[in-house]
Amino acid sequence: MSSKYLKAKVASNEKIAEGIYRMVVEGDYSANPGQFYMLRAWGVEPFLSRPISIHGITDAGIEFLYEVRGTGTEIFSKLKAGDELELLGPVGNGFDLETIKGKVAVVVGGIGIAPMYEVMKHIKDSTVDFYAGFRDEVYSVDYMKEYADNVIISTESGSVGHKGYVVEQLDASKYDYILSCGPTPMMKVVKEMGEKVGTPVYVSLESHMACGVGACLGCTCNTKKGKERVCKEGPVFLGEDVSLDD
């Protein structure tokens, strides 16, 4: 699980929903679920590399699931098989899957689904309920089912599953652990629900990053222990340890 800086070839890059792509990159990878890579497929512009979670690791290589938001992800979306990508990683801590056992809820919103495929794959001796919320179009859930005991879908538009927010479906007291990734307001609700009933909640945070390796202190968040680096001590934090206020 040592980190490296490497160049690798894109094996495939397909659009799986509106603005959502799944890219497979060739090579031999090993990482802790929940870790991420700093990706780059350009020269100096845009200046910074982009943090993208590990979606899956297979014999064919590593998979990333990403949403097109701006310049960087737009460039990713245009990569074709054979194009080169620079990867720095795996970085960050990932989930502590030795501890997380029993009845587990995985709660994601939108592209927050990205890291959870690899995570669920590695949760052992547990039952996993997978709660996924989307604005309208549902993606990736089909193959996520592989590792989930139950799948509960919500959409804001009501196009699939429960009409409304994902958290409306969740009863935190039923679980030993809750793992969450998605928009901050959603994770805040999940964290609070867990705290109310004493269920530990792990959240995977986002932050603007420059170095990705813990050197620049640009990505810090507020934790009980003071400022911690999302790229190094995170992106996964125990909900009660971390502040989700801006």
């Binding site: 040592s2 980190s3 490296k4 800086y5 780059r40 100096v44 512009e45 845009p46 200046f47 910074l48 590399s49 620079e86 720095l88 603007h208 990053m209 420059a210 170095c211 990705g212 390796v213 813990g214 050197a215 620049c216 202190l217 640009g218 990505c219 810090t220 507020n222 003071g226 400022k227 190094k232 801006d246």
Partner: protein, 302 residues
């Protein structure tokens, strides 16, 4: 035999490529990615006498050709630096510059006194810090203020004293001259440019402090100009930086008169970019039949 060796204030550097303060931590983080002992030196993240938590809110904002940062000198304090970080840095087997900031004259003096006795090769005095007494205007804006700080710090340390200039100085040449007069052994420049960004959707500045520091490729043409001007005005070593992304950029700074260079934001683009720069400089020198970097230092000054 092509040699990239340089000597700054009696300290030998394998080559003139130094990691810039605040972009390279204490070097450890990058040692996973490449052989850090190959670079000329490391300037530590900015240290203060007491530990500092740094700024709240957004700390980074990307712009064309660079980034704006508002880290706010987060650091563990000089005592912890001396106790925990120096031994680890030493094991990286390269020159150590202790980059030090402060909010008051007392902070600077207390910090410098401690570093004077520590196992660091050079003290790099960052005078871009906001001066608590003068309503937050940085020490590095007015030459007279800088002169005072440097003079006082000079009295408490015998270590080589490198003063790091701010590009926001009212007159960078006068600033350089004053710092040298005040006892600086060498000068490094530039620190980040005062800049800002506005989030038009939120209708407010991106950063809590409104203003923050610009670095990266975008500042190179100005940083090079300032290095050229300063190198012409003082007779002590000048260490140039600001947007150096490759060997060509580094050579421009050397030809402008810099003894060595520092590389900051470029480390974010490619973790081992300093090795590319070192190798590229060596290749250029071989191609051009240059034996020592001294042959081209300041050559563009005519």
């Amino acid at each position: 035999m092509t040699s990239l060796k340089v000597n700054i204030n009696g300290v030998d550097f394998k080559n003139p490529v130094i990691a810039a303060s605040g972009t390279f931590g204490f070097g450890e983080e990058y040692s996973e990615y490449f052989d850090v002992s190959r670079i000329g030196g490391i300037s530590s993240k900015g240290l203060t006498i007491n530990p500092k938590a740094g700024n709240e809110g957004r700390r980074l904002h990307e712009v064309t050709g660079g980034l704006i940062n508002s880290i706010g000198l987060q650091n563990p304090g000089i005592d912890e630096f001396i106790e925990l970080e120096i031994p680890k840095m030493r094991s990286l087997n390269t020159v150590i510059l202790a980059n030090m900031g402060g909010g008051t004259m007392d902070d600077y003096l207390a910090g410098a006194s401690k570093l004077d006795k520590a196992d660091v090769d050079i003290i790099e005095l960052n005078i871009s810090c906001p001066n608590v007494k003068s309503g937050g205007m940085a020490f590095g804006i007015k030459s007279c203020v800088a002169h005072e700080v440097v003079s006082e710090v000079r009295k408490v340390t015998k270590k080589p004293l490198m003063v790091k200039l701010s590009p926001n100085a009212e007159d960078i040449v006068e600033m350089a001259v004053k710092c040298r007069e005040a006892g600086a052994d060498s000068l490094s420049l530039v620190n980040t440019f005062k800049a800002m960004a506005i989030d038009i959707n939120k209708r407010k500045p991106v950063f809590r402090n409104i203003f923050a520091g610009l670095s990266g490729a975008c500042i190179k043409p100005m940083a090079l100009r300032m290095t050229y001007e300063v190198a012409g005005a003082v007779d002590i070593p000048v260490i140039g930086m600001g947007g150096i992304m490759n060997a060509e950029d580094a050579i421009e700074f050397i030809m402008a008169g810099a003894t060595a260079v520092q590389v900051g934001s470029a480390n974010f683009v490619k973790p081992d970019i300093m090795l590319d720069i070192i190798d590229g400089m060596e290749a250029f020198m071989k191609r051009e039949g240059i034996k020592s970097i001294d042959e081209i230092r300041g050559i563009a000054r005519g």
